[in-house]
Symmetry: C2
Subunit: 328 residues, 2 copies
């Protein structure tokens, strides 16, 4: 069997999880990792070679799909269009407000190069986007909700770590149980930001730091914490490493809606993820969409795509016949 030749651009959490995930997809093989760092200083877990990111263009004939594992803030806005001119790509661009802009830039390059480039894959955006769309299309008269967690938010953990006097920190986003229950019962409540999620922080202080001041600074931080009920725990580095070393996450998309001549029947659609490793799961989704990008491109398709543009059958290793026999 001819394997799908995968390249990984960016060797952080997601890049490493993509590398590990390839072993579970026997129709794929890893060609190499591309990094801005000194390739000589990186040893990959799989032993795959490391190349300078700037020399990726030299590998055009050797890679079927480049999986872009950089950050959404500065890496992907630049690398998305750049790599779309060279390879089929998949990225997990997750700055929701800038998706249309990112799409447009990737689209220009992908169309010109005849490549399929799937942006904003992963779980949110990604699987949650798909479920928001399916649920709304099925129940036009209804209300949709997205809850995140319980899980570690990297952005919020970083925000705490930037405070002077903080040595280390981990932040959990926690959905408010009563809000989830009301939505599941189909009550279609109006929920404020504070009513939907809580934030729980575990903080390690630098020697001599002012605990009360720092707790206040966290709780009042605009955008990140001021709109939420936030709990702050101060713990030792040992406890943080021991109890909060993982990157679990998850969440749910719930839509409740009404049908019938008099809207007399209530229905609830719920999609729920419980993830022990956010980067591993994100990488697993990216790999499934890498398969789709490869196959679509082999059929002559090109252009930027999001997850909702992809016929689900393209994600599966199974043939269409086998799917009809065993999964429908």
């Amino acid at each position: 069997m001819e394997k799908i030749r995968i390249g990984i651009a960016g060797y952080g959490n997601i890049g490493k999880s993509v590398e590990a995930g390839i072993r579970q997809n026997d129709d794929m093989e890893l060609v190499g990792v591309f990094s801005r760092r000194d390739p000589g200083a990186i040893k990959t877990a799989s032993g795959a070679p490391v190349f300078p990111l700037s020399e990726a263009a030299a590998k055009v004939g050797e890679i079927d799909v480049m999986i872009l594992c950089g950050g959404s803030l500065s890496d992907l806005p630049e690398q998305g269009p750049l790599f779309a001119a060279l390879f089929n790509t998949v990225d997990g661009f997750d700055t929701h407000a800038k998706i249309p802009e990112h799409f447009k830039k990737v689209q220009q390059q992908a169309v010109a190069a005849g490549k399929v480039c799937i942006i904003s894959s992963g779980w949110d955006p990604g699987m949650f986007s798909l479920n928001r769309l399916y649920a709304e299309a099925i129940l036009p008269e209804g209300h949709s909700y997205t809850f995140w967690g319980k899980g570690v938010s990297q952005g919020h953990s970083d925000a705490i770590r930037r405070i002077a006097g903080v040595k280390d920190a981990k932040q959990y986003t926690i959905p408010v149980a009563e809000a989830v229950a009301a939505v599941q019962r189909g009550e279609a409540p109006d929920l404020t930001t504070r009513e939907k999620h809580q934030r729980e922080c575990f903080v390690v202080l630098e020697e001599g730091a002012d605990q009360e001041c720092i707790e206040q600074e966290i709780k009042t931080m605009p955008n990140y914490f001021s709109d939420y009920d936030t709990t702050v725990h101060f713990i030792s580095q040992q406890e943080l490493d021991r109890e909060h070393g993982g990157l679990p996450h998850g969440g749910r998309v719930i839509r409740s809606g009404l049908t019938g001549w008099n809207s007399e029947h209530k229905h609830t659609i719920e999609y729920k993820l419980t993830l022990e490793s956010n980067p591993d799961f994100t990488a697993s989704v990216l790999l499934a969409f890498a398969r789709a990008a490869y196959r679509l491109n082999r059929e002559g398709v090109s252009g930027a795509k999001t997850v909702v543009d992809i016929p689900p059958v393209y994600l599966s290793r199974r043939s269409a016949e086998e799917i009809r026999q065993t999964m429908i």
Copy 2:
């Protein structure tokens, strides 16, 4: 706005729910209902005209999508290919074992006629099929489970009603809570038929019928009940009508899987439906896929399709731009 002109073939539970559902989709309009019964004897809830099923061919230019609402046992195997030669169609063919055969027959006609015909839509097959496929593609190393209920099984209710001495009956399929919980915890248990679902029956007896004999006959009925723990309650017709008049249903597709170099991270994907009206929800799914059939056909696509072949974006009334702006 040009509306999608819908025809309904078969005016039973599903056909009536499709009729009611059209009002929630302002890009659709109902042209008429087609029935094998005497059209003069049918009064539609919407006031839509009723035509003889045998004269559907005369309406070829007036209907964009015909929604086939007959039964899977004898109606759809015949009507599927027949209507595929005339219209874009959507059906809810749900005899899982015969889907490949049904697909092949519809495919021949749909390709020849240049129509898009989506078979086996609804929730299972349909939305559950989609979720089985997505979840397996994302977590290749894992186990998938489908639980149905709590909900009314029409087939099992009918089977009880066919017993001599039974006047009326309703059967609920109930997932075993411990089994669902073990699957949700990612334990990937091996479950027998008996361990997954229970059956609860509410039976109204004819005057003078032998209660014990009938309870025994239900519990030992092969295929339907003998492999399950079954509870039988004998009640009055009044109580049956009052307490068990609805057609609720639902269920879940759950996949748990492992990721990481040493399969060290557990993940669970769960898709759950809670439906007050099985036919209403099924009809709502059929209508969303009718939109997709119409749009795909306008783009020159033809042939038989299942839900996994359809790019999700085709189900939504929103434009691709709007979806990228608001739902991804």
